[in-house]
Amino acid sequence: MPDAAADRPELRPALDALSARFPGVVLSVGVEKGEITVRLGKAGLIPVLRSLKEEAGFNALEDIIVLDNLRTAGEGGKRFTVLYQLCRFPGADRVRLAVDVGEDEGLDSAVPVYRSADWAEREAFDMFGVRFEGHPGLRRIYMPDDFEGHPLRKDFPLEGRDGGV
């Protein structure tokens, strides 16, 4: 692994162990503004989450964030990037996992590893339409069940459709 963890030396052992255990899954490790982002292939997501939780002690999943790459993806790029914000308690070491996923693909659900992923994944599904395979009850959380579309997608109009909801 390159010197990506240079300015966060305390996280180096965990990150080195990660890329040694999952060759080919960890695509890159970057540090920006003191925050670590590990880019993964989508197939390795759950094993890496499990390893980070059980071996490196990242016991809290703080949030799942979806980015819509509609205008930035370019040729062959995937529509969405899903970010998993992990934290290690006690203390507050953080690492962010980034997985690209296309519009017609699903991601494996993180609920079997982190219980707090339940509502976060429902929110990601409701707002962006990202599907999580194996989620115990993937349904909308904010919008009404019969709502069509996903409001936080970049191509969903700000003022709503047909005069709003």
Binding site: K33, E35, L83, R115, W119, A120, M127, P151
Partner: protein, 364 residues
């Protein structure tokens, strides 16, 4: 008595749900079998709005998230923007922010105390709690003219200086709170009814609490010392001396004790910040139109309800590409099912109240 599962609907217009929350309960006689939270009644699409506003225009909208602690929302968002744009905030402004944020924590905890006691049936505590909270809202009013949706923190610093007259007024308010608190504690601490309704009710173990993502006073009531002000100090919190109060049993009663002790610690912090208030500017120089080079940050603070986080991604323009809010109430509410299962139906209201949720930040 024979087993009989009954489904009950609580809310969305129920007085003890603190907003518009609906709980679908399954009960066997008096015992709760399962709880399902149905949210979204207050969903305003905040994150969508933020993507279409400039960095500065977002700040007043954050007031409308946790509207009982609007300054904390301002602070959480503004700190994330400052980290993203590399803005260095003057030390005096950081101290004034601490004064405001801790006063906001006091106001939030006092409001919670009143609501919680009222939900369980102790009406007079609500009046005492709100009387004390009112004196803090008066301080906010004198500082910037607003009481509830305060918009009291700006990107780069604070909108107004904190002069000697206001500092003296804040000290007077702080002097009055311990007396009120003593009155409330005399009513509740050893009150037999209060203890029957709170001790051992809604318990959650520390490991489960972390797995569910629980943060803030509810987590600390389980004995887990997780406080962002200590772990990742922001806004000069490392320059103040304060303790992180912990509970032991993770029940409703310990959540009450932890919040009461946090009130005392917040008073300590505000006094230290007023005593040591450094001279200097109250704001950094921030361009009128703030454009931020492409980057991403996730920054968290210890809000009164728990860990409040903002993920912001910039794209080089004056508007963010994406803002995601990690709302403490949203994540805390997720564990209500775990806490209520096996408890009495009549305790659901007390457990829900002990989480100190605000639907404004759950529904965004």
């Amino acid at each position: 008595m024979a087993f009989k599962e009954i489904n009950l609907n609580m809310g969305p217009q129920h007085p003890s749900t603190h907003g518009v929350l609906r709980l679908k309960l399954a009960v066997d006689n008096e015992v709760v079998l399962s709880v399902e939270s149905i949210i979204g009644y207050l969903h305003r699409g905040m994150e969508k709005l933020w993507e279409n506003l400039t960095y500065t225009q977002v700040v007043p909208l954050t007031d409308r998230l946790d509207y009982l602690a609007s300054l904390s929302n301002n602070l959480g968002y503004v700190l994330a923007v400052e980290k993203l744009a590399g803005i260095e905030v003057p030390r005096r402004a950081r101290y004034i922010r601490v004064v405001l944020a801790e006063l906001q924590r006091l106001a939030s905890h006092l409001a919670w105390l009143g609501f919680q006691a009222n939900d369980i049936g102790a009406m007079s505590v609500l009046l005492y709690g709100f009387e004390a909270r009112e004196t803090i809202l008066d301080v906010f009013e004198e500082y910037c003219g607003a009481r509830l949706t305060i918009h009291g923190i700006r990107i780069g610093g604070v909108p107004h200086d904190l002069d000697a007259a206001l500092a003296a007024r804040i000290r007077k308010v702080l002097d009055g709170i311990p007396r009120r608190l003593a009155d409330i504690r005399a009513l509740l601490d050893d009150n037999r009814i209060w203890k029957q309704r709170t001790v051992g009710v809604g318990r959650i173990a520390a490991d489960d609490a972390i797995a569910y993502g629980l943060t803030g006073p509810c987590l600390r009531a389980c004995g887990a010392a997780w406080d962002m002000r200590k772990d990742v100090p922001y806004s000069s919190y490392d320059e103040f001396d304060f303790d992180v109060p912990l509970g032991r049993n993770g029940d409703v009663y310990d959540r009450y004790l932890v919040r009461l002790e946090e009130i005392c610690q917040s008073i300590r912090i505000v006094r230290q910040a007023l005593d040591g208030l450094p001279e200097g500017e109250t704001s950094a120089k921030v361009p009128r139109v703030l454009k931020v080079a492409p980057a991403e940050v996730f920054h968290t603070i210890e809000a009164p309800k728990g860990i409040l986080g903002f993920y912001i991604r910039s794209n080089g323009t004056d508007k963010p590409e994406r803002v995601k809010m990690k709302s403490p109430s949203f994540i805390n509410l997720q564990s209500v099912e775990h806490m209520c299962k096996g408890n009495l139906f009549s305790d659901v209201v007390g457990i829900l109240g002990s989480l100190d949720i605000v639907l404004g930040e759950i529904d965004k």
